[in-house]
């Protein structure tokens, strides 16, 4: 083999090794964290709450990730309801909040409550995002609702729609009569501690 052909063969072989090596590197990557879009530090609150504890919770009907629809009033007389508004899929604090709630189904069952997760994202986005929160083949135990169209209508009814079109990070606890018993419009940059929600749920039975 001439020197030229030898160098060329060596080059092609090296190039092949580069592509094989690249494949291995990407196969090792566990990607949830790398897919999170950093939003930086935001204005803690950017909406005006129009509801207060004791008010009747505005009714709504929204599509659910699994294809069904849910109407709030369907739980009246049957279940307490916790609504968890989170601002947006694939953002830092939101991506950590519901996986935590996914661990504590017992807390909701014990207090005869159902959890409804709501964002202004569309269904396909919510499907992909919530899938990343669970092990393969599993899904969140609570329904995730899309307030995408008309955009943010439910968030607006609850007074938690921010000026840029996403919702606040907010929790509403609604009793079986449909009355709001607890509201936490949290600093959007921080996750609400579970302790406060537990206390609010336990108060429902007092």
């Amino acid at each position: 083999m001439s020197r030229g052909k030898y160098v060329l063969s060596l080059g092609l072989f090296s190039l092949l090794m580069v592509f094989l090596e690249t494949g291995n590197v990407y196969a090792q990557s566990s990607s949830f964290k790398d897919n999170i879009y950093s939003v930086g530090k935001l204005k803690p609150r950017d909406s005006v709450l129009t509801l207060k504890a004791g008010d009747s919770a505005p009714d709504f009907t929204l599509p659910v990730v699994d294809g069904a629809t849910i109407t709030l009033s369907q739980f009246r007389g049957k279940k307490n309801v916790v609504i968890s508004f989170v601002p947006a899929a694939w953002t830092p604090v939101c991506s950590d909040q519901w996986p935590g709630y996914n661990l504590v189904q017992g807390l909701f069952l014990k207090n005869d409550a159902i959890l409804l997760g709501i964002t202004v994202d569309n269904i396909p986005t919510l499907y992909s995002w919530t899938k990343q929160m669970c092990n393969t083949g599993e899904k969140l135990w609570f329904p995730v609702l899309s307030d995408f169209y008309p955009h943010g209508e439910v968030a607006s009814k609850y007074g938690v729609l921010r000026s840029n079109g996403v919702s606040e990070r907010a929790l509403f606890v609604i009793d079986k009569k449909g009355a709001i018993r607890y509201i936490d419009v949290h600093d959007i940059n921080q996750r609400p501690p579970l302790d406060a929600l537990r206390t609010a749920l336990e108060k429902l039975n007092q």
Partner: protein, 217 residues
């Protein structure tokens, strides 16, 4: 008047350009693969910071209330204890969050790791594990502990101060440190990402901490 280049010289120059091009291509990929391969048992989310001779920062936790946990750590009484008072030459620290899916998925493997160490008489007094729940309240840490049946002590780091001192920005992060008898420390391991293989992780810890070499001597 310019001289015409020799044909052989031109071929050689072309080959040099090809080789240079390939080397440029190889260089960055070589760097990436060496970083990820350094921890084959963690699915990395972030590359490890430079290892070097880094010491563990000094931080404290309340002495656990459970007798089993006190005995495990070798700390007694009440009040706080310093991490360097933990009775072990090698300490593994897992920085986790109850809310982090990777931490949830890693939990069974970290339990395997704990049980593997406890099941070996040559290791159970020489490697201890603690978990630090970043941004988690005591209630949230307890929920995580009960959910996954975690047997080693977990401590809340609700305001993230300790995790910040340790330089942790994502969870889970696994840190390995040697605690010397004179109270000095040496951090020999730092990797963020999901733990997927307890046996290989333990093997890495044994190699990097020097415990394996000690046993051969």
């Amino acid at each position: 008047m310019m001289s015409r280049p020799h044909p052989g010289h031109r071929i050689c120059k072309t080959h040099s350009v090809i080789v240079l091009f390939i080397l440029i291509l190889l260089f960055p990929f070589g760097c990436v693969s060496s970083e990820t391969k350094s921890s084959s048992v963690i699915s990395p989310t972030k590359p490890s910071p430079p290892q070097g001779k880094k010491t563990l920062p000094v931080f404290e936790f309340p002495v656990p209330q459970k007798t089993g946990e006190k005995n495990y750590l070798g700390v007694f009484g009440s009040g706080n204890f310093k991490v360097t008072q933990i009775s072990t030459p090698v300490l593994i620290i897992e920085i986790f969050s109850m809310y982090c899916p990777h931490c949830q998925r890693s939990a069974p493997f970290v339990n395997d790791l704990f049980q593997s160490i406890q099941g070996r008489t040559d290791l159970k007094q020489r490697i201890k594990i603690i978990g630090i729940g970043i941004g988690n309240s005591p209630y949230e840490v307890d929920l995580f502990k009960n959910k996954y049946g975690i047997l080693f002590p977990l401590f809340p780091d609700q305001d993230g101060t300790i995790s910040k001192m340790l330089g942790v920005s994502s969870t889970p992060t696994f840190i390995g440190a040697k605690i010397n008898r004179d109270g000095t420390t040496e951090q020999f391991y730092f990797t963020s990402g999901e733990l997927t293989d307890a046996a290989n992780f333990l093997s890495e810890i044994l190699n990097l901490s020097g415990l394996k070499q000690e046993d051969k001597q």
